[in-house]
Structure formats: C-alpha cells, structure tokens
C-alpha cells in the first residue's frame, strides 16, 4: 500500500503575550490508504493542533506552522495555494470535531448545510444535492432521513448531530477522515453507536481515518496503529496490539496503569502518573515527560531522545528504554 499522508518534522507554535507556546515540536508519521490511525494524548499534548496544521486551519496570527512538510498523495500541502487547499479540505480530507452543536450553524437547516458542500465542491444542482443529502443521512443511520432534511440542529440530539457531521464529512467521498475527539461529548451508549458507524463506513467506503482521543479504551477497538503524544512530541508509536501488550514508554505505561478496567481483578490499585501536565510555554529542555518520570536520568533532562524504531513498526522516544522492557502497566 502507498502512503496517503506523510508528515515530516511538523512544527507549530503560537506567539502569545505570555511567550511562545510550542504546541507541536517536529513530529513525523505516515498514514497508509484505508488505514485507521489513533492519536492519543491528554489536553495540551498537541494532538489537535497537529491535525489542524495538516489541514492548515491554524489561526494565524497568533499561530504559525514554523516548519515541516505534509505530503498528501505526494503533494506538499504547505505549499499549495489557498484555493487549492480549500478544494482539498472539502473533497479529499474531511474533518469532524468534538462538539457537534458548535460545528453546525443553528439557523440553517441540516439539509441546507450538507447540500451547500455538495453544490460547492461537486457542482451539483439543487435537486441532485438534496437527493444525495438524504442518501448520506440514511447512510449514517438517521431514521426518516428525507423528512428530517428541513429540521434545524436543535431538533437533533447530540449523537444525531454527530451523525450529521459525519454525513457532511462524507459528502464528497474523502480519502481521509480526521475525527477530533468525536465522542468525548457523548454518553457511552451513543459513543458505541458512533464507533460502530465509523467502523462500518470504513469497510464500505475504504477511507483512511485519523481518530484523535484522550481515551485509550475507544482506540483499542478501532485503530490499527496508535501514536501517543505528550508535550508536542510523539513519545511512542506502535501497532495497536503491540502498544497495549508491550508498551515501552514510561508515559504510555503510566496512562494504561491509571485506567481502571472493568475486567481487572478486585483490589487493583490505580498507578497514577505523579505531577502535572507540562506548561507548553516553558517546556523543559530535555524530554517533556522527564519531570513526571520515575526513570528519568540526567540525560533526559538535557536532551530530547530521538524517535527510534525498536521493533517492526514500533517507534519509541526514550533514553531509558532498557528499563521498561517487559513492564506491565498495573504492576509497578
């Protein structure tokens, strides 16, 4: 399979009154056609900014993509003119966001908002666009789709609104769907519905998906490969079973250990990660996780470790990687 997306050395910063916020600090990864990649990280890890940079949706100023390349189907998105970028956003890469209420315009009908994209990007006339819209709403599992075209967003529940967003994203048959915490605002039963929907749509349409989340649980059943981000760096990247079965970065191990599991034996203690998330204005000189890490040595505080391949498809950025071999998250 060929690479659909190739991100090389992407670096995004925000220039604020309080100083330079170093949100993304030179990350590189690839995505194959039809693949599902999970990006996991806590708030401030740079996971959202990294994909907004790919889409060139960073508000400038204060933000700026200060370096790197983003190759989509071999073309560097950082160099294409704005109108070409706008075409790609509509028809090649689609994005859905966390809060389905704020991403829909409350004074326009659902039908109008989806038809708009179809007319703009695919040059459809009114009738064809309306027909296709009804078809799309049916595809994402909205009952009585034709009757609901003239409803407004407030007449839909949270889960239904997220389905509408997905329908809008799918309207132009994108090769890549970027989902930025799409289920965080939803209840677990609704989350299960949306996850099932995306899985099914991937099978049907063969699109690639980047799923951003802070929830290691959702990703386990969905992604083929997972990237763990912290402080604007990629800390670890591995095929999904490898990451959960043999996590090697102390942060990944800490994250997995701090999750309660419903299948865990009784009396399992949660192994929390001590300390606080990093301040992106005053990132430590070396590894951003060093102040919270149990294994950190002198070198960790001086120098950021490179992201190196330690097994096929398993990349790790840690100076003390020998110490974490064979560690289990709940047995620290």
């Amino acid at each position: 399979m060929t690479n659909l997306l190739e991100v090389k050395g992407l670096k995004t910063q925000f220039f604020t009154q309080n100083g330079i916020v170093r949100a993304v600090n030179g990350i590189s990864y690839t995505l194959k056609e039809g693949e599902c990649l999970g990006i996991v990280g806590e708030s401030g890890s740079g996971k959202s900014v990294s994909v907004l940079s790919v889409m060139r949706l960073i508000p400038t100023p204060p933000g700026k993509i200060v370096g790197g390349e983003v190759l989509f189907k071999g073309e560097d998105l950082m160099l294409v003119p704005m109108d070409e970028m706008r075409r790609i956003r509509g028809s090649e890469i689609a994005m859905i966001f966390q809060e389905p209420m704020t991403s829909l315009n409350p004074v326009l009908t659902i039908g109008f908002q989806i038809e708009e994209a179809l007319k703009l990007h695919q040059g459809m006339d009114n009738e064809a666009a309306r027909e296709r819209t009804a078809e799309l709403l049916g595809l994402v599992g909205i009952p009585n789709a034709v009757e609901r075209l003239d409803d407004y967003p407030h007449q839909f529940s949270g889960g239904m609104r997220q389905r509408v967003m997905i329908a809008m994203g799918l309207s132009c048959d994108p090769a890549l769907l970027i989902a930025d915490e799409p289920t965080t605002a939803l209840d677990v039963t609704i989350q299960a519905q949306i996850v099932d929907l995306v899985k099914e749509l991937r099978k049907k349409l063969g699109m690639a998906v980047i799923w951003i989340t802070h929830d290691l649980g959702v990703i386990a059943g969905l992604a083929e490969r997972v990237i763990v981000m912290y402080g604007g760096y990629i800390m670890e990247e591995a095929p999904v079973k490898e990451l959960y079965g043999r996590p090697r970065h102390p942060y990944t191990i800490g994250l997995l250990g701090s999750l309660p599991r419903m299948d865990a034996p009784e009396g399992t203690k949660l192994t929390s990660v001590r300390g606080q998330p990093p301040d992106l204005v005053n990132l430590p000189a070396g590894c951003p996780f060093a102040p919270r890490c149990d294994f950190a040595g002198e070198r960790c505080r001086q120098e950021m470790p490179p992201l190196e391949e330690i097994a096929p498809g398993h990349r790790l950025a840690c100076w003390e990687k020998d110490k974490t071999e064979g560690m289990k998250p709940h047995e620290r």
Partner: protein
C-alpha cells in the same frame, strides 16, 4: 426500625422541575421529572456509586438529598434524623457533616478568593476557627490533600485542573464531615490526573472514615471505587447491587447494554467482544414513556412493559432490579 449501620436512608425521593409558559403570568404546564421516586440506603463507611447517562437525574439526586434543591416528595433520613423537616438553622448545623465535591473545578472555586479563604470559609461560617488557628487548620488541610501549605495565598487561576479539584476536596473536608457527595469529581480532568484524585479520595476515606456517594458516568471508574452501585435511567433506579454482582451478572437489560458499551483498553479483548448497541436516544424526562421508562429501547420489550411500571424488587440478597422480565422469571421458578 433503626439499623445502626445505615447512615443515610432515601425513600421515594422526587424532584420535579416545573415547566411554565408565559412571562408575566407563568402558567404551570408540566414537569421535568428529574428524579422520580428513588430509594436507597447508604451504609456507614461505604462508597455507593451512582451511574447513568447524562440527563438521567444522578446529579439532581445528589443535590436533592443534601437539600440543595427542595425535594418535591419523599424522605431523606440521615443518622436517624429527618432532613426534610428541619428548619434552616438546624439544616445549616447538619451541613457540617454533609459535604459535596463538584464536577467542574473551574466553576466551583471563586476566582477572587485566595486558596486560604476558599478552604477557610466553612470554618469561619461555622465559627470553628479564626486567626492563627484558622491558618493552621487550612495548612493542615492542604497538606492532607497533597498540596504545599505555602499555596495558601495563591489564587485558583494559578493551579491546574487536578490541583483545583484538590482545593475543592480540602474545602469539603474542612468541617470534618462524615458524608460527602462526589458529583463527577474527575470527569473534567485528564486521564493521568483522574487516577491521582481517585487514589486521594480512597486514601482519605480510609484515614478519616468517610462515606461517599460517588456520582459518575464512567462505569469503569465507578466499579473501581464503589462497594455498591446503583444504575439510574430517566429519574429512576433500575438496578442496585454489590459491585461484583452488578458488573459480573447484570440483570437489567439497560445495565447489560450500558456495561457492554464501555470500551476495554485492550485490543485483543475488544476484537472478540460482542456489543449490545442500544437504538436511539434517551427520551425526554418531561414526557417519559408509559410503563417502564426503558421499554422504547429495550430488546426484550413485552406488551406489559408499556403498560405497567416495574417495581424495584430484591432478586437476590442485596441485589435489586426493576424489570418485568425478572418478575416473570421469579413467578415461574
């Protein structure tokens, strides 16, 4: 009948929020039945988990039993004393023993007050300490929740979410309470910080002999912290049982669906798991379905479910469930 072991007894608790039409002459046109006849006991020193999806009334239950909302009906007995017939003075005195930790650590701390004033305020209101004694007690509380005592003169904005939640916990502990309602105390926090706060709550419970009502929508966290768990759906408790019984052998179809929707952070297990995916959304609590609230989404729904409301009955020792399916099975047996 008074069981020494029962700290809090809630019977048929109801809280309806009126829906009105008209601006000047507001007419009462209906009710949002946020909590609709909830009964449970909380034993001394235990943690009762209360779970459910958003809008099921779990937060309202917590606030109503503390009399922060005036209940529409039912009774709440704390340590043998009826909270609902108390006047304002008696209730204020009771509140020393009953405290609450809120969900949003950003909204629940006054940004204009220092940490010292926030944590010390309950002590001043109840005339327990002042001056040097007050400062000492506040430092002690900050130390207890894992904050540096010299944070006393700082303001909430200088702290991260997890640290703010610790300040909220210190405030709740100031009056040496016996019972704390933890209203989604971790859902606004990052994953690695959630575990810190949960571990702290567990430690404090052990050290101070606290009793918790732990309200959350995260089922795996509730399983971790609770001794017993109650599941709510549309203002009613559908199942209440010991943690192990509830998670290993859930009886109510809603509990079963809810548990199967929770993702397990393990791709090998996730691959094999069969999910019960519920259709549709939670109905509106202002016009709940007839009979059993859940019958519109239940895969076992029978004609009787739309007609008659099932009662919460004890199906095994300490295991309560409200479902016609189970009543029928009992009848046959």
């Amino acid at each position: 009948m008074k069981d020494e072991n029962i700290l809090l007894q809630v019977r048929n608790l109801k809280k309806y929020f009126p829906i009105t039409r008209g601006v000047i002459f507001a007419r009462h046109v209906g009710d949002t039945k946020a909590v609709d006849g909830v009964s449970f006991d909380i034993h001394r020193g235990e943690t009762l988990g209360l779970v459910g999806e958003s809008g099921c009334g779990k937060t309202t239950t917590g606030r109503t039993l503390l009399q922060l909302y005036k209940p529409t009906g039912g009774s709440v007995t704390y340590d043998g004393k009826d909270l609902m017939t108390m006047n304002a003075r008696e209730l204020r005195h009771m509140r020393r023993k009953l405290q609450i930790i809120f969900q949003d650590p950003y909204a629940s701390l006054n940004p204009r007050l220092t940490v010292g004033s926030i944590v010390g305020e309950p002590l001043e209101i109840h005339h327990i300490a002042s001056g040097k004694a007050l400062r000492e007690r506040v430092s002690e509380l900050l130390y207890l929740v894992g904050l540096r005592p010299d944070f006393i003169s700082r303001y909430p904005h200088e702290f991260s979410g997890g640290q703010r939640q610790r300040i909220g916990i210190a405030r709740a502990l100031a009056l040496d309470p016996e019972f704390i309602v933890c209203d989604e105390p971790i859902s606004a926090l990052d994953v690695s910080i959630q575990a810190q706060v949960v571990n702290l709550l567990e430690e404090l419970q052990e050290k101070l002999g606290l009793t918790y009502l732990f309200i959350a929508h995260d089922l795996s966290m509730v399983q971790h912290i609770s001794d017993r768990v109650a599941v709510m759906y549309l203002g009613k408790i559908v199942e209440l049982a010991d943690r192990n019984a509830l998670y290993k052998e859930p009886q109510h179809p809603y509990t079963q669906a809810l548990l199967s929707a929770v993702p397990i952070p393990d791709p090998v297990i996730e691959e094999k798991r069969q999910r019960i995916v519920l259709e549709g959304d939670v109905p509106s609590p202002s016009s709940p379905p007839s009979g059993c609230n859940f019958h519109t989404r239940c895969r076992y729904s029978m004609p009787i479910c739309a007609e008659k409301e099932p009662e919460l009955v004890e199906i095994a020792s300490g295991h309560y469930c409200a479902c016609h399916l189970i009543n029928q099975r009992e009848d046959k047996a």
